[in-house]
């Protein structure tokens, strides 16, 4: 083992180490002083997340001092490149938004807030590590940490039967997904004789049928964290049974983990031009989109509707993965750029929507679509911000989600998957219908006249919710810096 191994490993895993350390601090403090104010844990978590971002900057610096491309440890099993660093920063940003807006939730569980923030940090660390994995066993382990962590965070409030039930069902479905993943990876290991993802592409030529079976099982397993059909039932349950803050976090982090694992497995592992996984990705994207759209138009509960739309958004991300190879003009397609940009925009939009929903839940607004009638009269600010957040989620112009969709559709057509793009456009518009109807109903219809106030939520939650919704509009204007960032980070994917 080289003498530079330890410093390299330290530099590579510094953000994860920091996050885990502060997660442990939260957990220990929480068990020692269970009645401490939730604010303390929140600020510890915030410090941890900001520290992780700073550590990522240090890792970038270390990379530039090294080979300029990546820090490679464990014989190529862990590769910290700009892509993984981008994911680390994005995951930290999503977690930061959650921590700052979680007051409406943590107020209800003061004794368990330490566990909540510890789990937030743990999941963030796992996603950060996942982005750097090039090895099947560790990829599976980090994914499991995400799944178990999100299960625990959903079931945290055991006094609420629905949440505990949702957590339990999530665990069962997660076990099915884990089994699929594990069987698939085991088959692929059997075919390739190695747990390295990088060696997979070449090895599959020797046993195409077994390889195809392994790939199919892995991709089906990955639909679970991504929250798309066939394993998307948890999304609706999470939005319904858990507080909006938790639901937003679980969905955002799940999708991030799923998309990153899909990309690492498919693009970095199998190679962008290997037909079985690309074709299967296209089919799963189409099925996921159509299923989400059909579900959304039937939903009667706002939370479930937003969950279905988020599920559709997650399926849209797969369009970018189709375009990881050469494009229509034999030029490198920019699917990875589209993925990173869209993932960021998607995360902010989902968190903005669920934060606004949390504010409405705190004001005791029930969750039926009919309860939102006339919200524009009762609370114009809440209605306007929720509308803006929803517009971001469905990609309505002029919000940045519109640009993200345009780039994703373009990626699919560029990769020669025009039919998937056509399905995606149709499904996106179908997803927009119930959301536009909801927005219109907030303004057009007459609902309850009972007084309504956003003041039931802490100022921080309101500020974060509003800022996220407005950021989605500003991102349209500032798209170039974001794309440049994504472009710089997308290079090492191939």
């Amino acid at each position: 083992m080289s003498s530079t191994f330890a410093p390299a490993l330290g530099a590579a895993l510094l953000p994860e180490i920091l996050l885990l350390a502060l997660a442990v601090v939260c957990a220990v403090l929480g068990s020692i002083r269970p009645h401490e104010r939730p604010d303390l844990y929140r600020w510890i978590a915030v410090m941890g997340l900001l520290g992780a971002v700073t550590a990522t900057a240090y890792t970038l610096h270390a990379t530039q001092r090294g080979n300029g491309v990546a820090i490679v440890v464990w014989g190529g099993g862990l590769v910290v490149d700009r892509f993984s660093m981008y994911i680390t920063v994005a995951a930290c940003a999503f977690a930061l938004i959650t921590c700052l807006s979680a007051d409406t939730y943590t107020r209800r569980i003061p004794t368990r807030s330490a566990a909540f923030f510890a789990l937030v940090l743990l999941i963030t660390a796992a996603i950060s590590a996942l982005a750097a994995e090039r090895e099947m066993a560790t990829m599976f382990l980090t994914l499991e940490v995400v799944i178990v962590g999100t299960t625990a965070i959903q079931a945290l409030v055991k006094t609420e039967e629905e949440a505990a039930e949702a957590g339990w069902k999530y665990l069962v479905e997660g076990a099915v997904a884990s089994a699929l993943l594990l069987y698939g990876l085991a088959i692929l290991y059997g075919v390739s004789g190695s747990t390295s993802l990088v060696a997979l592409g070449l090895a599959l030529n020797h046993a195409p049928a077994a390889g195809a079976l392994g790939i199919t099982l892995v991709l089906l397993g990955l639909t679970f964290p991504l929250g798309i059909a066939p394993l998307r039932a948890w999304v609706g349950r999470a939005t319904e049974a858990t507080p909006a803050t938790v639901a937003g976090f679980v969905i955002t982090m799940g999708v991030t983990a799923g998309a990153v694992a899909w990309l690492r497995f498919g693009v970095s592992g199998l190679g962008p031009s290997l037909e079985p996984w690309v074709g299967l990705t296209a089919v799963l994207a189409a099925i996921g989109l159509l299923h989400a759209a059909m579900t959304a138009v039937q939903e009667e509960r706002v939370g479930r509707l937003i969950g279905a739309v988020a599920s559709g958004e997650a399926a849209l991300l797969l369009l970018a993965l189709l375009a990881a190879g050469l494009g229509a003009t034999n030029k490198q397609a920019d699917g990875a750029i589209a993925l990173l940009f869209s993932l960021t925009v998607f995360g902010v939009a989902v968190l903005a929507t669920f934060t606004m929903l949390a504010i409405l839940q705190a004001a005791r607004l029930p969750g039926d679509l009919s309860d939102f009638r006339g919200l524009g009269r009762r609370s114009p600010v809440a209605a306007a911000l929720l509308s803006l957040a929803l517009a971001g989620l469905i990609g309505a112009p002029p919000v940045a989600g519109f640009l993200a969709r345009t780039l994703l559709f373009e990626s699919a057509i560029d990769a020669g998957y025009g039919w998937v793009a056509a399905v995606a456009v149709a499904a996106s518009l179908l997803l927009a219908v119930p959301v536009v109807r909801l927005i219109a109903s907030m303004y057009a219809d007459r609902g309850h006249d009972a007084p309504f106030t956003m003041q039931a939520s802490p100022l921080m939650t309101r500020v974060v919710g509003g800022a996220c919704a407005i950021a989605a509009v500003l991102a349209t204007v500032l798209v170039q810096p974001l794309l440049l960032l994504a472009q710089g980070s997308a290079g090492p994917v191939h």
Partner: protein
Amino acid sequence: MIPSILLTCIVFLSAIACVVIIVLPDRSAEDHTRLRTLGLFASGIQLLLAVVFALLVQIGLGAGGGVSSASEENHSWFTAFSFTSAYHLTADGISLVLLVLSTVLFFCVFFHSWRVHERVKLYIGLMLLLETAVDGVLCSSDYVLYLMFWGLSIVPIYVMLRVWGGPERARAAARYLVFALTSYGLLTLAVLLVIVRAGQHTSDLTTNFQALAGPVASAGFWLTLTACGIALGVFPFHRWLIDAQSEAPAGVGAVLIGVVSKLGAYTLIRVGLGQFPAAAHQYQLLVVGFAVVGAIWGGLAALAQDDLRRFLGYSNVAQVSLILLAAGTQTSVTLVGVVLFILAQGLSSGMLVLLGGVLEERVRSRSIRALGGLVTAAPRLAALWWVAVFTAIGIPVFAGFSAEVMLFSGSFPIHRIATVLVMASLVVTAAGLVWVGQRVFFGPLRETLQRTRDVGTLELAYLLPIVGAIVLAGVRPGALTPVITNGVIQITTRLAGG
């Protein structure tokens, strides 16, 4: 070329006013007046900028065929992707004329907003947002920007239909939403096809994507044609427009039929013909066929209507078939004619809808049978109605005349039978318009209508600018035709294989 922010001001002034309106109160009558005045003020400045600074400068500079666009703004938007996109606004001969139509109609509709008494803040805000969207589509020279503004127009109209519509507003709004989203989706696919398959790595609308050919060009053309057909409300995609016209409040109906639906015509010329010239040439007979069927269907269906609003809707279906005829003919004369026609038809149909609203407000009925002899009780209303009808049917001195002359004279040598059939159908439509006018305004005055008020100062304030525009375009079409010709040169050159 004049480097300026003129077009940005024209497009975004109403959006800024919309943001200002959000913080203004909406409780008392004074608050409502303040909101309406702000909307009118913003819209008035946009009109002034569009007419005085944009159109007159263009007429001055472009009369000799010198420049295609006197106003242009082009700033890079994003480059870090497989195609580049720019904040590129231009107003050439085609878009400039339609920009004037848009700003005139919106200005009049803001005057009309004094007739709106419920949810005034929301109404003015949505109308301002809609004006930004429409003007943005007309000025955009970048596909991504273009799609963004197009998409932005959908929600305001849907909400306005839902809030201020008639008894069947929910159905009309739902139908509008489905058709509008379908049209938007098809257009999105066409645009992406252009960007990706042409291999130019740009979304600039002015680029000549010559690499497009064969099935890709055909697919792009049909996607665009269908999207535009839906937006324009031509047969067989007209149901949404009829329902929306029937249920929308007069102000919303006027901008919907006068401007918003005309974005379909604009896109058909700009994208359908401009980007897919070979496919447009290949399928021109089919397009002309749609025009003939639409003209006949619209004309006959209009005659069967008793509801004034639905009658106007079906008349519109017949009239816009002329746009398809021009798209199928593809000569310079017909393209200049069709731009003039869109201007004239937009003004006349918008005015008729506003007048229909005035009539409905006074007599509390939309049934043509229930009306009669109103010329004695409301002579000014009758005069204004006939001005709009004369424009719609192409009587000399009014804007429609020169447009129809150019359209028919341009299309007859190429599609003789189709032109005759469309002309015959439009004669039926014209007869219908005259017949309805005769039934509503002439004959014995019904007893129940004897106390009908004539149009007042407010109505004159928003109808006379339209009349002014109609007469100006009617008596001086020569001032506009060189400007429009400059705008269509690029398209006709591409159609000719250049």
